[in-house]
Structures are given as C-alpha cells and as structure tokens.
C-alpha cells in the first residue's frame, strides 16, 4: 500500500513535471539563471580574496636597520618576522637595497641624487593583509616594528595602499549587496514558479481532492516537482558556469597576470558546488511547500 502509494506519487510527480510545461521550464530556467549568477559571483568572490592577498602582499613596508654586520641584521629580521601582523620579512644587504633604489623607485624624484647614496641594511616587511583591518591597525604595526631594537625607521606606502584598499572595499560591499539581491530573486522566482505550476494544475488537484486524495497525495508530487525544478536549475547552472569558467579563465589570467604576478581564476571547490545543488533542491522544496500549503488551505 505504502509502496504503491509512493509509486503513484512518483508517477504524479513526473506527470506534473511533464505537464508543467511552460511554468516548469520557466522555473528551471530562472533557478538556473539565479544559481548561475550566484556561482559566477561566488567564483569572483573566491578568487577576489586571492586577488586581495596578491595586491596586499605586493604592498610591502620597508624597515631601515641601524646595525653594522650581517649577523645582527639577520637577528633583527627574525625579530621583525615574529611580530604579530607580519606575513614575511626579507633581508636585503645595503648593496641590494641600493640596487633596488636605483632600479625602480618610481614616483620619486630622489633618483637625481642617488649617485652619492649610501644605504643601510634593509628589511622588506610584508604585513599580513586583511580587508577588515583599518588604517590604524597598519600604523600600529609600523610603530611596533619601529620600536624594535636595531630598527632605525619604518616607511610604508600609505597612499597607494589606501587607494587599493578603498577599491577593494567597494568591490566587497557592492558584491555583498549583489549577493543578497540574487538570493532574494532566486527565492521569489522559484516559489512563484511552483505557485504557477499549482495554478496551472489546479483543475487536476481539485479533481484529485474530489475523488478523495489526502493532502499528502496532493502535496508530495508538487514538492517533488519543486525539488526537481530546483535541482535541475542548479545542475544547469553548474554546467553553464563550468563552461563559462573554462572559456573565461584564460582571458582573466592574461588580463591580470602582468600586473600582479601569475594570477589564475580558480574554480570553486567541490563542496561549494555540492552546496549549490543542495541549495537549489532546498529552494525548490521550500518554494513548493509554501505555495502548496497555501493552496491546500484555500481549496477543500
């Protein structure tokens, strides 16, 4: 009896998928679009953190040491390395520092005088980059390093960092806003699509009720079709974004790699993809549940 009933539920679910016609494909399409946007955005966000890290690391601070020999310099470097908030600290000999200064001190007018220049030992400090830390955290780090034994002075490229920071913040903010919008749209679209399926099938449901169908008998196929809608949408979205990724990744790499070192657009990890599919199914189920519940209440 239970077996036959559930077979019949599956059959009716499949029929409602088949006969759902336009609203069904509409729902699948919309779910796919929404999920695709989410995935695409997720990929950007995912890689955005990598991007942010790359940008952050390329903006190093420089500590000038007041030491005389390599051993003392190495000791100071080690001490800087251990300071909280420091990602890495690299030692440069005075010669290397002078080379660097000669080579690429862009934005500086001091090159003119560099012929008669002498340099101290220098440590290049890469701060641990995080978007959440404000300007003050960074200043504090500079002061902390400056207070260390053997460190003469610390310079850090405030202006440049601030500017990139602001851009990254903007990206992040706009991104969150977009994400919320997309999730809202997907929920509304899917639940409405299922409601439309119910609307289109309302004659059939009315007759089922007349011949004595229980609420479960009516609701389960609709729920099933909602889940199928959501899952199908999610799968299509993943396939599409896979294709998009394959074709776009090269473009993005070529466009960005010059400036920021090798930058690759990684695909999302498998567990996020799994979440997208489960999320699609859930969205479909919730949408179906909402509209079916409302429908059962109003019809008798």
């Amino acid at each position: 009896m239970i077996g036959a009933l559930s077979a019949s539920v599956v059959k009716h679910g499949w029929r409602s998928v088949r006969s759902g016609g336009l609203p069904f494909f509409f729902a699948v399409l919309m779910t796919a679009l929404g999920m695709f946007s989410l995935t695409a955005f997720g990929t950007v966000l995912w890689n955005f953190r990598a991007l942010a890290r790359a940008v952050g690391e390329s903006v190093a601070a420089v500590a000038f040491l007041k030491v005389d020999d390599a051993a003392a310099a190495e000791e100071t470097r080690a001490r800087i390395q251990l300071t909280p908030g420091v990602e890495s600290a690299t030692l440069m000999t005075p010669e290397e520092a002078l080379q660097r200064a000669r080579r690429g001190l862009s934005g500086s007018a001091a090159l003119q005088a560099s012929a008669g220049l002498t340099m101290p030992w220098v440590v290049e400090v890469v701060p641990r980059f995080s978007l959440e830390d404000g300007e003050s955290a960074r200043l504090e780090l500079v002061q902390r390093i400056g207070a260390l034994d053997g460190v003469d002075e610390v310079l850090h490229p405030g202006g440049e960092l601030k500017r990139i920071d602001a851009l990254l913040r903007l990206l992040h903010g706009a991104g969150l806003f977009l994400a919320v919008l997309i999730v809202l749209v997907v929920v509304v679209v899917v639940s409405n699509a299922v409601r439309l399926t119910v609307l289109v099938r309302k004659d059939e449901i009315a007759i089922q009720k007349l011949v004595g169908a229980s609420d479960a008998f009516v609701a389960l196929p609709l729920l099933l079709s909602g889940v199928v809608q959501g899952t199908l949408g999610a799968v299509i979205a993943l396939v599409t974004s896979g294709i998009a990724h394959a074709s776009l990744a090269r473009v993005v790499r070529v466009a960005l790699s010059g400036a920021l070192g090798t930058f690759t657009l990684d695909p999302l990890p498998w567990w996020i993809l799994a979440c997208v599919i489960v999320g699609g199914a859930l969205l479909g189920a919730v949408g179906a549940l909402l509209s079916v519940a409302r429908f059962l209440r109003t019809s008798s």
Binding site: L5, L210, G212
Partner: protein
C-alpha cells in the same frame, strides 16, 4: 445510511436558500431518484452529501458520521467510498480516458496493475473500450458522460451520487447507463440519481424525491419492484 435533519443551505450572496428545511432518510442499498426543475436544489443536495459544501443549518449524517464534524483526513477517506457523476463531468481534457478513470483508484493507493485492470473492466461496461487511450477532449459529449460514470463506478463505492447522468445520452445509451446503475444497486450500493429525464421518472418503480425551490415537494416510495434488502424509511 444517509440522514438529513432540517438541512438548509444558503449560498453567500444568493437571494433565496438553495435548500430549505430538508428532511430525508435514505436506507442502505436504496435507489432514489431526485427530481425537480432546474435550480430546485438537486445538485446542492448532492454536494452536501459529498462534503463539497457545508450545510448552513441542520445536520447531514452519512454512514453514521456527521459531515460537519469530519477532519480533512476523514473527509478525504469518506470521499473514497463515494462515487460521484458530476453534472459537468469534471474530467481533465488533456488526460486520456484511462488516466482520468485511474485517478480515482490511484488516490486509494492501488498498484498500477490493479488500477489498469479495473479501469479496463469498467470501460468495457460503459462501452468505451475503443477510446481507452484517447484524450477526453477528443470525445463526444455522450462519451465524456460515460467516462464520468465509469470513474464513479470504478471504485465500487458504498454510495453512488449521479447528477443528471443521462443528459447527453440518447435513449438507447441512457437505458444502458441506467442498467449499470441498477447493477451497482443490486450489488448493495446506495444510489441517488438527480435527473429531469422523463424516461427515468416514469414507471413508478423507484422511490422519487421531488424538490421544488429547495423544499421537498413529494417523496413517493417505490410502488413496485421493492427489493428485499431495502429497509422501509420514515421520510
């Protein structure tokens, strides 16, 4: 089997009650013809028995249960033991004849094999075997009416409610359908047929309950051919 006590029904927004202080008692395995002019309240009475509407006043008792007190679940269960031929058929035009009839059995959780077997049997009885896989939309009016009858009969119901089951049938077909209803009646089903068909009304071999403007105008017990398994009933 079916008892109505002072039942009234006023539709919201209607100028006069569709049913007015109706008292009626129908015994198990009785065969009742519900007569009355258009708008007399025949369909309304059948709708009350079928829980498609609630009585505005009075009580409707079906198989010992007060219909006003049924839960949604009990109502669904009660409906599974009732076969109904609706005046407007209520078939799904896009589904095939078989699927339309199968609906009534699927709801009961029967296996597909049983469903198909019983559907084919009843389709044979109403003479529509050759239309099994046609969509309802491809059937003539009379054929659709016979599908509606088949769907009511297929569940082998305890109570069979027929609203104008021969309106779209020629005399020959109408007689065949009546014979089907009588067969069900002989098997022990309580049958209530609402009709204006003079052919069904004439003869006086059945109990006729006539409605007029929502009230029972007369209730004539069957004059002859009364079956042994029928109880007498106080009208």
């Amino acid at each position: 089997m079916i008892e109505l006590y002072h039942v009234g029904k006023v539709y919201p927004g209607a100028d006069r009650p569709a049913l007015d202080d109706v008292n009626l008692s129908i015994g198990k395995s009785e065969f009742i013809i519900l007569a009355g002019a258009s708008g007399a309240g025949k369909s309304t009475l059948l709708r009350l028995l079928f829980c498609a509407e609630q009585a505005s006043s009075g009580q409707v008792i079906l198989q010992g249960k007060n219909l006003a007190r049924l839960s949604r679940h009990e109502m669904a269960k009660a409906r599974r033991s009732i076969g109904v031929v609706f005046q407007d058929f209520k078939l799904l035009p896009a589904l095939s004849v078989l699927d339309n009839i199968a609906l009534a059995l699927e709801v009961q959780g029967l296996s597909r094999d049983d469903v198909v077997r019983r559907c084919l049997k009843v389709l044979n009885e109403v003479g529509l075997s050759h239309k099994t896989h046609q969509p309802i939309a491809a059937l003539s009016g009379g054929e659709q009416q016979r599908v509606a009858i088949a769907r009511a009969l297929v569940v082998e119901p305890a109570v069979l409610l027929c609203d104008e089951p021969t309106g779209n049938l020629d005399a020959e077909r109408a007689r065949e359908v009546m014979e089907l209803l009588i067969t069900a009646h002989v098997r022990g089903t309580t049958v209530v047929v609402a009709t204006h068909d003079p052919a069904l009304l004439s003869g006086g071999r059945r109990r006729v309950v006539a409605l007029d403007q929502g009230r029972i105008a007369h209730d004539a017990p069957a004059a002859a051919a009364r079956r042994s398994d029928q109880r007498f009933d106080a009208a």
